[in-house]
């Protein structure tokens, strides 16, 4: 899959990317989980500040309320100076600008027995001045029946608390603002509750504060280098009094705050008491983070901030980081790929091109400057190329020297066949197929004298030029020494001695030689540690000639060699070879072997040495197929034809030539090694036919008699031809040899004898010739 360098580097890039992504995920997770509490804390503190402001207002209102109650008490206890009290009240409100207004309210007939209601009320007019509203003392305004009065009064009276808060309400005296009033009790000396003080708190302003509450988060972490300001927009709040279970105000845009004022908290759909404990709530398809703040008077402020807006900056930061990561994801492989191409693939491609060119034999200069490693590789490559060229040249030189050596070696072996066309006594064929290296096989044949013919096949141990040189020496030595008048035994011993003298390298030579007297067939075989030859005798099958093996030549100087003497008959064939044949191997590393050779040669019907050679080679080739030849394959085949001298007699058929004729028969029989008995028969038959032709074939003028005597396999064939009158001896009736001698005719005996002595007689008349063939089986 990742076979190329490119794909491998790409795989590394992708792995790297995956690692970076995982690392980022981890970082982002850690970052987020660390940053979130910080953000929450920030908001919490921000809201705390808001809460503190409101709480301060509450404390001040409550404090004012208590002050006013004290003033009311003083007014009641002292001389009841109305003007002074008015001034003090004005002063108090003047110092407290956040309050809309407030006053001191007495129970019926408490100050004046004739006046049911008595109160002071100050408020801030449109110009911002604090004025006393006298209208509240009028009969028209029954403060005693106002809800805020009743609520506060009853709370103080029942609970005995310092400050009580009314339910929120809309002021219906014209301003129509949402108010909530705090009040304290006014007591007489005996501790009786004689009235209350009130301070009005305008809730609108709180609502406003909450609405306009801003959260500016400039930095979420020192790691993020961006800045962003974001106003939280969709937050909402609830101001309520959970103790007394009423809603003061809510900024939830989906709720009608006005109608909910003073109602029970269950009207707020998202409110529950658990809010203080939870980290977020789900409302209207969105997540909100609730912040619950308690005021000193038991009121609660609950602010809900949308989670997504709250963590927007964080999410934004993460998003930006993802973008950067994506950029990296693209850039890293791209960068890797591009630099790979530039610094690795390009030089590799260049080197590949160069290698191809070098392979084609072109001269190329290799030059890569960058990167350094490739520059170094290129220069190494360059050096290698030059070295290869040098080596190749040397190799070529060596090869040519080797092939010259091979050529000299093979051309030193006789290679013209037939080598002695005038000698029909024998046929010889030899061949050497050299292995790739120069080997040590050789063969040779030559006449020692007029009658003695020597042939030999040999294998020098070792290979290569030294073996070839040694082989040449040995070959020359043998052919020179053979010309001397030595007996075979002497010859081989002196050859051995001379080889030993010239053998410092420790070579040795296995050799099989034959010295044949071609006129008689008398043969001396010499086997010096060589493969046994195959011999076909008397038209039988080829058999391994069990020669006693002497030790190879060149081993010990003074060795005695045993010579095997035999006489070859006409038609005998000697097949000699070197171990390159029997040790030729096939694909299974199995050798050709002697058995296969034996079977092969016995399957060959032809007796011509060159055809035997060809067929055995074909058999070896078929066996080894294309396995490279490891050793020389050499063979020499000698076929003895016998001495064919004057196998044909051709003379005028006259009685005077009879003497010549029978001399011819005798010498031919001798050459063919025909035994005496048969010679006698041949003579008798020959004479009869000679006489027949002489006396009867040519009645008018003398003609030619031609006779041929030859040995074909196990038959002696005696053939006569004459151009005389047609005469078939086979048609002559046989004489009756049982007749008494007196009655027997003198003639006809000869033909009868011929028929008796021969194994077969053939007669034919062809082209005006009588052809009579006598066959004698040996």
């Amino acid at each position: 899959m990742f076979k190329t360098l490119k794909s491998k580097i790409l795989a590394i890039a992708i792995t790297l990317l995956a690692v970076i992504t995982i690392l980022f995920m981890v970082y982002a997770y850690v970052f987020e989980s660390k940053t979130k509490p910080l953000v929450l804390d920030y908001y919490s503190r921000h809201i705390e500040v808001l809460k503190d402001g409101i709480n301060n207002d509450i404390i001040k209102i409550e404090s004012n309320s208590k002050d006013l109650a004290l003033i009311g008490s003083l007014f009641y206890k002292t001389d009841k100076s109305v003007d002074l009290t008015k001034e003090v009240i004005k002063k108090i409100f003047y110092n407290y600008p956040d309050s809309l207004g407030g006053g001191i309210w007495f129970e019926p007939y408490m100050i004046n027995k004739s006046q049911k209601r008595f109160c002071f009320y100050a408020f801030r007019n449109a110009d911002g001045e604090v004025v006393i509203d006298e209208s509240f003392n009028s009969e028209n305004y029954d403060y005693l029946n106002q809800s805020w009065y009743k609520e506060i009064f009853s709370q103080i009276k029942n609970k005995g608390i310092d400050v009580a808060w009314s339910l929120p309400y809309y002021e219906n005296q014209g301003s129509n603002t949402l108010m909530i009033t705090a009040g304290s009790g006014i007591y007489d000396d005996r501790g009786n509750l004689i009235g209350i003080s009130t301070v009005d708190w305008e809730i609108n302003s709180i609502e406003e504060q909450i609405r306009n509450m801003t959260f500016v988060l400039k930095r979420v972490s020192p790691q993020s280098s961006f800045s962003s300001g974001k106003y939280i927009k969709n937050h909402f709040a609830l101001l309520a009094n959970p103790q007394d279970d009423y809603i003061i105000v809510t900024t939830d845009p989906d709720l009608d705050s006005r109608s909910l004022v003073g109602k029970e908290l269950k009207n707020i759909p998202w409110y529950n008491e658990e809010l203080i404990k939870i980290t977020f709530m789900h409302y209207r398809g969105k997540d909100y983070v609730p912040f619950v703040k308690k005021f000193t008077n038991g009121m609660n402020l609950i602010i809900c901030i949308p989670r997504n807006e709250m963590f927007y900056t964080l999410a934004h930061a993460l998003r930006e980081m993802i973008l950067i990561l994506l950029l990296f994801s693209l850039l890293i492989p791209a960068f890797l790929y591009l630099s790979l191409n530039k610094y690795v693939m390009n030089p590799i491609n260049i080197l590949t091109d160069i290698a191809n060119k070098i392979g084609k034999g072109e001269d190329v200069e290799i030059k890569i400057e960058k990167p350094e490693e490739f520059a170094q590789l290129a220069s190494t490559y360059d050096k290698m190329t030059k070295d290869i060229k040098t080596i190749t040249k040397e190799q070529a030189k060596l090869n040519s020297e080797l092939s010259i050596a091979k050529l000299i070696q093979s051309s030193s072996l006789p290679s013209v066949f037939p080598p002695f066309p005038n000698n029909s006594e024998f046929d010889i064929f030899a061949s050497m197929e050299a292995a790739k290296e120069v080997g040590g096989d050789f063969y040779d044949f030559f006449f020692i004298d007029e009658a003695k013919f020597m042939f030999l096949i040999a294998d020098v141990s070792g290979k290569g030029i030294p073996a070839a040189l040694f082989m040449m020496t040995v070959k020359t030595l043998i052919s020179n020494l053979a010309q001397m008048d030595y007996s075979p035994k002497e010859l081989i011993e002196i050859i051995n001695k001379k080889i030993c003298e010239n053998n410092k390298q420790g070579f040795f030579v296995t050799m099989l030689a034959g010295i044949v007297d071609i006129t008689t067939g008398k043969t001396s075989f010499i086997n010096c540690g060589h493969n046994l030859p195959l011999i076909k005798r008397n038209n039988g099958s080829y058999e391994y000639l069990q020669l006693n093996s002497n030790i190879p030549l060149g081993v010990f100087e003074n060795m005695e060699y045993e010579i095997y003497e035999t006489t070859l008959n006409s038609g005998d064939i000697i097949y000699t070879y070197t171990d390159g044949i029997t040790e030729a191997i096939n694909f299974d590393n199995e050798m050709y072997g002697e058995t296969r050779l034996y079977d092969c040669i016995n399957s060959i019907e032809e007796t011509e040495p060159d055809i035997i050679d060809e067929k055995i080679r074909a058999s070896i080739q078929e066996y080894t197929e294309s396995v490279e030849q490891s050793d020389d394959i050499t063979m020499l085949i000698f076929k003895y034809n016998g001495n064919p001298t004057a196998t044909i007699f051709k003379e005028t058929a006259v009685k005077e030539n009879y003497n010549k004729f029978y001399n011819w028969i005798q010498s031919t029989c001798k050459n063919l090694y025909i035994d005496e008995d048969l010679v006698n028969k041949l003579e008798m038959c020959g004479e009869e036919i000679f006489a027949n032709i002489t006396f009867y074939a040519y009645p008018e003028k003398n003609g030619i008699i031609q006779a041929e005597l030859k040995r074909v396999n196990n038959d002696i064939i005696f053939e006569f031809k004459d151009e005389g009158v047609e005469y078939n001896i086979l048609e002559k009736p046989d004489p009756d040899i049982t007749l008494p001698p007196e009655d027997r005719p003198i003639g006809g005996l000869g033909i009868f004898m011929i028929k008796e002595m021969t194994d077969a007689i053939f007669y034919k008349r062809e082209n005006g010739k009588n052809i009579l063939t006598l066959i004698f089986r040996i």
């Binding site: 009685k655 005496e676 003579e683 006489a691 001698p741 005996l749 004898m753």
Partner: protein, 104 residues
Amino acid sequence: MEIVLKRFGIDGLNVKASGRLDLDNAVEYGTKIKDFIEDSDETVTNVTLDFSEITFISSFGLKVILELYKELKTQEGVLKIKNISEQLKNSFKMVGFDKFLIFE
């Protein structure tokens, strides 16, 4: 061909020849014997052929021997062959001459 003819006894003739009794010599051999018999003063009826030095006999030789035998037979004579080799004797046997010739 050398032929030595020697008389012995009253009517005997010993013929010793050397060489081949063939086309070349057989006729001469036979003729010489016949001439000798005819020319001799005494009747020759007992002829012995010494074959010790005869190396070969062909049908021509056999023919001559047969003629000689017939000739002697008419005179109640005897033809004997002595010192013959087995090989030559076979030639006589081949043509059935062994049935009437006397070999010694």
